[in-house]
Symmetry: C3
Subunit: 355 residues, 3 copies
């Protein structure tokens, strides 16, 4: 599988590399180690000592640089050898380093051409900024490819069938649905009118249980697989601005062709005070149940049925709610193909699937 | 590996698809889902929703038809889409259905040409009919190919060495042995004269412990790997008709090239009343011990030694007791080759092993 | 991967085949069964019955010969069939046998040309002779190739970084290092002057804790991956002969290309009496902690980073301490290539890596 490389991916949540911590994680099928330097700035290096292939994540941080745990070689944030217990630092042993940016409670990594790593290209997840929001954060490792995750989030009609007791109701499929494309951004917007939600969900959405509500669920996709959901509800017939819209983030980074890191979060404004902090804690916990016990087995079973081939080449069916997923994947594949042509024009031409 | 397709296989025991139950099971390396329709009739479909590859066995049964648990599409017993929450039922999304017949306490499936699925071809396991017999039923998933199971059951001389404390004695190998072929049916018949069986076994066979017995063990093989064992004993020198013959079934269905579903049972006539019911329960439990703790590890170790190649091409030795297994596999392979020639004459010719 | 075949490997420790025991173990990617005959002499056969591929290690020993646990065939120490419950012993069913020698508390196996199996070629581990030494013996199964183990033991500078709390100190890397090659034997000798060892280590080495010591650690490599470490210490400035040198053995046998049997031991002279026996027990236990909790995960992570390719073709770096490992592997690879050229001249030429 070819991954898009000149793009920002979430490598980890900010708290996963607390001071002194070393995090080894496979991203785009490469072993990466993440940590913070002496100033607290995040650093990402290939998790592989060039001396004897030891994972650098087994080492330790000394004076803000990374020391291999096998023979003590030290590397700085650029991957340059800066310490050698047996002589002068080696100039030939160098570790690949990756541009990283800390933003929106996450560490974003760029695994393509470092010259092109413009932080302005990081998609806007301002509702995850810890200064302004309480952010409840979760993580699930999924044995399924990231394209299945794109489809899962962009077609939330599935909450009626896969999450009937938590997030869905039996009216979701009857809602209005609209797919909008704005440049490289795809929106999948759904509104359910007069919906009777289950008691707990209704209360969460700020509608008296048992009363019909108008619920909107708007999903924004940005490349490669970073999605924001803006959802809210009002008593049926009232204007949307009277409701509270709660944003959640659903950020997917390929671990390998058939496995994905799923970073999810839910945010409440700091203006809400302690109650907002409590909601962030409680509701990210609440979300983990359908995500881990309903989405996870479904996605992993789809992946097993998909076999070693990718979703791009699979024979699948079509329902109206698939519009957004199809548009998003089309945009993504065009970008992947363009990158491939640049990297290796002849190989790309030979491998291109027939149009 | 090529499986014989135009033949009946056991997909599950009847009780495995109790009302409302959905059973997902891999058969002949295909994912199959089994359930009962509103009238209680068994249904088998490909366990794969054509929309997004979700396993249908993750769904639920509504009004006797199967609803996918991901986006709610419904399919009838023929695999036709009959329900779509988002519009009219799709005519293009169709699921493969398989002929199934409930007989002899089992659900039999035909995974070849549906036109040829004649129920009269199901082999006779009348001693498993629940109207006339109490049937104790067991199941073991085995990580070994079904051909090794054919050999295991057709050469029961192994009970002397592999099951010395339960089913065997040190005289089994000295018994008479005869292999008979009747069309596509192979018999492997063994009689041990003057056998001193262990105390528990002797009592089970109806012979006073410590007394010499004449024990017969007759095995009937039918394609592809369905075997009946008819075994009994009498005090040495008495006529067979004075003994009680107990039939057991040993039904093997490939899960994949290297793994097999093993359905086994033991039957006692309903005429025996409560005692027969008790024996069926007790003795199927008793059999599970040698099957799971002695046969299972042996077969799995043989498979590991066999590696990725099949038994058909393996270099193996010869003992007199191998006659029945060899005949059975010859009949089976000829049928597989004939089916292959019909399906793809050129490919079959190219792949055929040298005679 | 091509293993050197005309060489002695350790198959097991002597106590692993206590009387009546059958040990099945994969060596050089072949299934081998080991046991002792009626006279207590070790025997090694292919762990595969030629009749139906059953592992012979599932069988039992009767009158010093090995009986298959499936259909009772018996084989002698040469692998000849000597017992058949169903007739005369088969002359065609033969099991491969391997030369074995019991020496230095271990059973050594020769998996090449049996004619060439000269016991004089077994390397000298006289300090493991149970007549003269108390030998504490341990075993770890490692999911890493044996070449990584050669490098690990031949460059013990790693004890400073990987074993800082047990075997190392922060002065090891500053010690003197010398690599010596004597024919096919490679020495990696390290001496640390004025070393302050941790309290427990210092006591073990016979130096008063807190006092500077001169510690020597000499490693001897013999093909393919059998190493002896001779280590001792004296109060700084005193002559070596005043210290107690303790030998340990580190014997590696490939299980497969990516996994290795690690046999390790530590020896104390019988002349020490009960205290020597106690030390052997205690110190082999002590060693198991860094070996299993520090070396093992490191080596397995290196192997994972190495992927399916071997260390021979990997791009790795160079530090002065790598001299011995490089020399040892060069000698080993030359011998492997020579053996390959003899076995299959044309294939070897085609596969040879570019020089």
């Amino acid at each position: 599988m070819t991954f898009l490389r000149n793009i920002w991916y979430v490598a980890c949540w900010d708290h996963e590399i607390a001071e002194g911590a070393l995090l080894g994680r496979r991203l785009l099928d490469e072993a990466v180690v993440l940590y913070r330097d002496a100033a607290g700035k995040p650093v990402a290096l290939r998790d592989l000592c060039p001396h004897r292939l030891a994972p650098l994540s087994f080492g330790r941080i000394v004076d803000g640089s990374l020391r291999c745990g096998y023979h003590g070689l030290g590397f700085d944030a650029q991957g340059q050898c800066v310490h050698n217990p047996f002589g002068p630092p080696s100039r030939t042993m160098k570790v690949q380093s990756y541009p990283v940016v800390e933003r929106h409670s996450a560490i974003w990594i760029w695994m393509g051409d470092a010259q092109a790593a413009d932080p302005a290209l990081i998609p806007d997840f301002g509702f995850n900024d810890p200064d302004a929001f309480f952010v409840g954060k979760g993580y699930i490792g999924v044995k399924a490819g990231y394209e299945l995750e794109i489809e899962n989030i962009l077609d939330l009609s599935h909450i009626e069938f896969l999450h009937p007791d938590t997030l869905g109701s039996d009216q979701v499929s009857q809602g209005e649905y609209a797919c909008q494309v704005e440049g490289d951004v795809v929106w999948s917007n759904r509104t359910v009118h007069g919906e009777i939600m289950n008691e707990r969900l209704s209360a969460r959405m700020g509608v008296e249980p048992g009363q019909p509500a108008d619920r909107w669920i708007h999903v924004r996709w940005t490349m490669p697989a970073n999605m924001a959901i803006f959802a809210g509800a009002v008593p049926s017939g009232r204007p949307q601005k009277e409701g509270r819209e709660t944003p959640t983030a659903h950020l997917f980074t390929p671990e390998s062709a058939g496995s994905t890191h799923y970073f999810y979060s839910i945010s409440f404004p700091r203006a809400m005070g302690d109650y907002g902090a409590q909601l962030a804690r409680e509701q990210v916990e609440f979300l983990s149940v359908p995500f881990a016990t309903e989405d996870l087995p479904m996605l992993q079973a789809q992946q097993a049925n998909l076999g070693s081939g990718g979703l791009r080449d699979a024979r699948i069916g079509w329902l109206p709610g698939d519009a957004a997923g199809a548009r998003a994947r089309k945009i993504l594949y065009e970008r992947i193909d363009a990158e491939r042509r640049l990297a290796s024009p002849i190989e790309a031409a030979a491998e291109a699937p027939a149009a």
